[in-house]
């Protein structure tokens, strides 16, 4: 299996995990291990001395995986740039998931602020992974300013509505010179497989695993699905036809005619 290449670094796993919404740190760590993920996203929040167990830096560092701080909470490009700089201080890596969604109702990424922040951060040497609307024009613009990948949404964050943007994601992939990673909205492993079959380079999953009945088991299921989808893409899917084409001889079994 070819490796996933992001910002000059290589990864075996094409499943990226989010660390939000898990009911405990232990369950989150089990899920990460079961997923085989080498990249996980984290968020920044004010230090809270009453809740020291919220601090994920220690437990995640011990796993030996690469942290991708997100800029969640940023309402504009300037705030996202500051969040990225803070994240880099803590993570020790240059990865950043640019995430700017000012409207709490639908959490749709702001394309203009996302573009501005991504451009500035790429210029500053970050490995920029922008969470973005599934827009092929914006994807190309983000590639042009030096993003390491683009991460179009499958559907709104946390909805589990699957790959509702499938046709747009296909257009993005067809035109993209950088990896395309579907981020947000996936619910079932089959949807992750479908994204990979389409030609995505990876998928980012959080809620579907964190909110599953058994998060570690679901993480393992997603890992299998991502591998299957990627292998299928590499194998080359047959083309679709409008008419039935028999796979067995059509000569009559009894009469031989």
């Amino acid at each position: 299996m070819n490796k996933l290449k992001l910002g000059g670094k290589e990864f075996e796993s094409r499943l990226i995990l989010g660390t939000g919404k898990f009911s405990s740190v232990e369950i989150m760590l089990e899920a990460i291990k079961a997923s085989g993920a080498e990249l996980v996203t984290v968020a920044l929040r004010r230090f809270n001395r009453d809740r020291p167990s919220d601090d994920l830096l220690g437990p995640l560092t011990r796993l030996g995986i690469t942290l991708v701080p997100n800029t969640s909470g940023a309402r504009n490009a300037a705030e996202a740039v500051r969040a990225a700089q803070l994240g880099r201080e803590l993570s020790g890596s240059s990865f950043v998931k640019v995430e700017i969604h000012p409207n709490p109702h639908h959490l749709m990424p702001d394309p203009i602020e996302t573009y501005e922040a991504s451009r500035e951060l790429a210029r500053d040497g970050f490995i920029v992974l922008p969470y973005m609307p599934a827009d092929p024009v914006l994807a190309k613009r983000l590639e042009d300013v030096g993003c390491a990948a683009v991460m179009p949404l499958g559907s709104a964050i946390g909805t589990g509505q699957g790959l509702s943007t499938a046709e747009m994601v296909k257009l993005i992939i067809a035109d993209s010179g950088i990896p395309v990673i579907v981020d947000a909205g996936l619910r079932a492993p089959s949807e992750a497989a479908a994204a990979m079959e389409m030609g995505c380079s990876a998928v980012l999953v959080n809620s579907a695993i964190a909110a599953a009945g058994h998060p570690a088991a679901m993480a393992a299921a997603f890992a299998i699905a991502v591998k299957a989808g990627y292998a299928a893409r590499q194998a080359g899917l047959m083309s679709r036809g409008d008419h039935a084409v028999a796979t067995s001889p059509l000569t009559s079994f009894l009469t031989g005619s």
């Binding site: 660390t19 989150m28 996203t41 004010r46 230090f47 919220d54 500051r82 994240g87 201080e89 964050i157």
Partner: protein, 72 residues
Amino acid sequence: MTGAFFMNIVVNGNQHELAGAGTLDQLLKELEIVPERVAIMVNDRVIPKLNRKDVALREGDRVEILTFIGGG
């Protein structure tokens, strides 16, 4: 700086009285925070870990101390 001296700063949105000639290092010690576990911003400027001991805090400074939590 000699003698008792206090300054008022804002830490994560809350008023905080810091004794003595306050540096960021001193503030972290006072709050019993493990320095490697947090990122810090003073008045919206990110302070690299290496520079913390050199950053003298001033009356009215806004200090943000951040950690990683779960996020997608």
